[in-house]
Structures are given as C-alpha cells and as structure tokens.
Amino acid sequence: MIRDITIGQYYQAESKIHSLDPRVKLLGTLVFIISLFLGMNIWIYLVATIALIAVIKLSKVPFKFIIRGLKAIVVLILISAMFNLFLTPGTVILKVWKITITDRGLQTAVYMVIRLIYLIMGSSLMTLTTTPNNLTDGLEKGLGFLRVIKVPVHEIAMMMSIALRFIPILIDETDKIMKAQQARGADFETGNIIKRAKSMVPILVPLFISAFRRADDLAMAMEARCYHGSNGRTKMKPLRYKSADYKAYIAMAVYLGICITLNIVL
C-alpha cells in the first residue's frame, strides 16, 4: 500500500533522460504542465501523449513503475472527476433522481482525469530520473535569480532534498510501527471511518515523534559538519550544461510552440 508511492523516489538507470541537467528536466516538467493547461483541445493532448511516451521510452524507467505512482491518488482523481461530472452546467444527457450529467460535464471530467494522470506521470518521471541532490542543485541554480528578492532559495532547496531523502526511511518506519501495534492486537482494517481514523493514532504518534527526533539529530549532524547555509559553500558536482541539454531545450521550445499553435489554430 504505502510502498506504492513513487513520487520522490529515484529509479537508477543509465539513460539520456537520467544524464540531462536537472534544470532542463525541471523546466521540461513545467513546459509539459503548461501545455496540459493550455486548453481542452484533443490535438494538444495527442501531442502531449506522444511526447510523454517518447520521454518514458528514453528514460528506461519501466512503465509499470510510473503507473504505480498513480494508485496513491486514485481517490483524488475520482473525487475531482465526480465534481466536474455532476456540477458542470450544460446540455443534460443523463438524469437520475437529482443527479444530472451534462455533455460539458462529461467532457471536463474526462479532460480533468487525463490532465491529473499526466501531471503525476510527468512529475514522477522527473523525480524518478533525477537524484534528490541533483534536483536540489537544479532548483537552487534554476531559481537562483529569486535570491535578488530575498527568497532563501538555497534553504528551500536543501529542505526539499532532505524531505525526499527521508521519505523511504519514514515509509519503512511506518511499516515497522504498524507491525509493532498489530502485535499488540491493533486492528487497522475493520470498522467504520471514525474507528479507522482513531486506529491511526497509535501509528501517527510514534511516527511523528520519530520524525522529529530524526530531524533534530540530522540538524545536529549537519551543524557538526560545518553547514551554515550557502555562504562560502563550494560544490563537489557543480551543474554544467552539455550539448544534449541544449538539444533538449530546443526540443522543449518546439513542443511548446506546436502546442500553442494548435491551441490558436484549432
């Protein structure tokens, strides 16, 4: 169940996508998301699908692995689909008791589902092909211009990378806590929603306490190794663009261009 979360996990492989500069991948993800929100246009979605499949193929990440990440948000997708389906005005095509489904509602719901699924797939693909540290470096450098307006870019990036590093550890820990409580007769499976929510307390309390303790330990370990923010800090693996990165930027520009054109023309 909780092991299915793929967002924030890294999939080790040697591929063209893996070796791209993280800034390219970050901007690429952003471009992809923008293209999805351009409009409800079937041609744009067709181009986006082709682009997504091509990048997945290039990345050598098994398709199953990316799909697994969707399981965790199935409920979210269904809820948003429902809202769109039932609450959008338009020509009624189906009416059962007080529930009406309109043509526009159906259309929005379908687009919404695809949009959410692609969104998750696109961003999972980025984290699956980029190590957390690389991602942080990319964010830090890519958003470095914000430092001018006093945004603590380095600190935010560091925070994110630590969060990503701790996700697998906390998942593992949740598993252990569940077992320890099950050994004391705890029951997480039966009962109504309130009972089940209550049964989470014995898991959440130890998990939070442990997370805080870990955070405290880690802060101390970082301080002990002379960490003091970005001032005077050097990089062991500084980011440098290679020719493949420029090619990727061009491909992205072409992709966005096509999408915008399609949006205007059709």
Partner: protein
C-alpha cells in the same frame, strides 16, 4: 502450549527484482516453558522467522501449528494467535504512543476487548512484573530513559498475558545495568508465570549465560538447534557465519593450550572459574 514449525519457506518480494528467499525449509518444535536464544548475523532471517510465529508474515509454503492447530487454516483467528504469542520489537519508540505509561500498557488488553477494570488490573500486574517505579506510572512514556522505555514496551505486551514472549534484541544499546535489569525481568517471568521465551540477541555472552537452548540461523537456514554448550563447541563453524563463542570459551581454549587441563566447553565465567580452581 506448543509450537510446531514444519518446513516453512518465505520468499521476500516474490516476482520483483528484489526477490530473495528469507527462510528455507525451517522446522522445529517449541514446548512450554522453554527459554530459547535465537542468534544469527544481520540478514540471516531471524527477524523474519519470529514474525512468522505470530502471523505477521505468512509463509510462502509450509505449516505452523500452535497447540495442534494450523495457523494458516481459513477458520483460524490470527488475532487470537497474536494474543498468545507476544512480540516485543527492538525499538520501544515504535510502539509507545499514549500520554501516560499506564494508558499505553492498557492498549493491548483494550484491543482484546477486555473491560476497563480488567485492563487496568492487567496493566498494574505487568508494570509490576517489569519492575517499573510506581511513581512513574502516570508520566509520559517519552520522558523515560532507554532502559525504562524497553521495560514499558515489554509490559505493554505482557498485559495481553501471552503464553509465549518473543523479544527482538531487547538489550541492544543498553548499558550493562540496563541489560541486567532486562534479564532479571525475564527470569522473574519464567519463575512466576512459566512463560515460554524466545530471545533474539547479538551477544553470545548473554545467550550463554541465560538460555537453555540456542537456534542458529544462517542465510535463511536453521543451522544449529541445541543446548548452548553443544552449540559453542562449533565455535569454528560459528565464526564462518559471522558469529562467535562467548569470550570466556576462547580464554579457556588458550588456557588449555598452555598446558592446563581445564574444560574447554565452559561458556560462563562461573563454569570457567570452577574448572580453573579444580585444576590448579
């Protein structure tokens, strides 16, 4: 009570690239009142094995019988099994969650569906058994020392009145006094309750000094299953699988090689002392 483990196999993450056989044809019988030490290096399968005994893991093949009943039978209630086979995990931090120690110990019996009064009686009884100072009962479990937390965690499982108590490295990270306190509790449990105990440990000295029977796991196989004295005779084989005999056994070997006619199968300081005094 008795536990019969019959040729169980467990394959971890079957069907993925992480697939690994964690248990291979493991069979043994445990009778009431035994005190068993389970040893093996990290990753030898001992943690997986103990989690089979209370049904947290289900064997890929093979059978486990508790009191002659097959625990993998459709009609068998695994929650009943967990009430009878208490498992204390290595880190007490993984189970303590209530705002007082007393309430935390009540959690197990409450899950068993006992009345409030019955839960409280059991909590008092088990906190007494682990020898925790009464003034601490209504304190937060998070303010306790490492050794005290371990004892509260043990009490939390004891309150369910299990027939078998399994402890996963209960002394890891404790100082010598904390370790002695845990062993004193186990001794008391055996004397007062005749409870069956399975102890997972990395310390050969501790196992040698306390248990009646040792099971050695190596790479998912139950390699040896015998009395401590017979087990540590195999110290050369034990070394090959990342284990060792207690230090005192090696000392006695050295003394023997130096020309003293001492017993080389001594596994505790007491035995070693006697043997040396006899020969000198």
């Amino acid at each position: 009570m008795s536990i019969i483990v019959d040729k169980i196999n467990y394959i971890y993450e079957q069907g993925t690239n992480l697939e690994r056989q964690a248990l291979k044809d493991v069979s043994f019988v445990i009778e009431k009142g035994e005190f068993i030490g389970l040893i093996g290096h990290t990753g030898s399968g001992k943690s997986t094995l103990i989690q089979h005994l209370n049904g947290l893991y289900k064997a890929t093949s093979g059978h486990i019988y508790y009191d002659e009943q097959d625990i993998y039978d459709k009609n068998y209630n695994l929650r009943d099994l967990r009430n009878k086979v208490g498992l204390v995990f290595q880190y007490p931090e993984h189970q303590l969650f209530e705002n007082t120690i007393f309430k935390d110990v009540c959690f197990g019996p409450k899950n068993q569906g006992l009345s409030k009064q019955e839960c409280e009686i059991r909590a008092f009884e088990s906190l007494r058994l682990v020898g925790l100072d009464e003034n601490l009962y209504y304190h937060s479990p998070f303010d306790l020392s490492g050794g005290q937390k371990r004892r509260v965690a043990i009490a939390g499982v004891l309150a369910m009145q299990p027939e078998v108590l399994i402890l996963d490295e209960p002394t890891a990270g404790l100082d010598p006094r904390g370790r002695d306190e845990i062993f004193a509790i186990l001794k008391r449990l055996r004397e007062e309750k005749n409870i069956t105990i399975i102890l997972v440990s990395h310390s050969m000295e501790d196992v040698a000094a306390h248990v009646d029977r040792i099971m050695v796991m190596d790479d998912g196989i139950l390699k040896y299953d015998d009395t401590p004295r017979n087990i540590f005779k195999h110290y050369k084989e034990l070394e090959k699988i990342g284990l060792a005999a207690p230090q005192v056994t090696y000392i006695m070997q050295d003394i023997k090689e130096a020309g003293f006619n001492v017993r080389t199968d001594a596994i505790t300081i007491e035995e070693a002392k006697k043997s040396i005094l006899e020969t000198i």
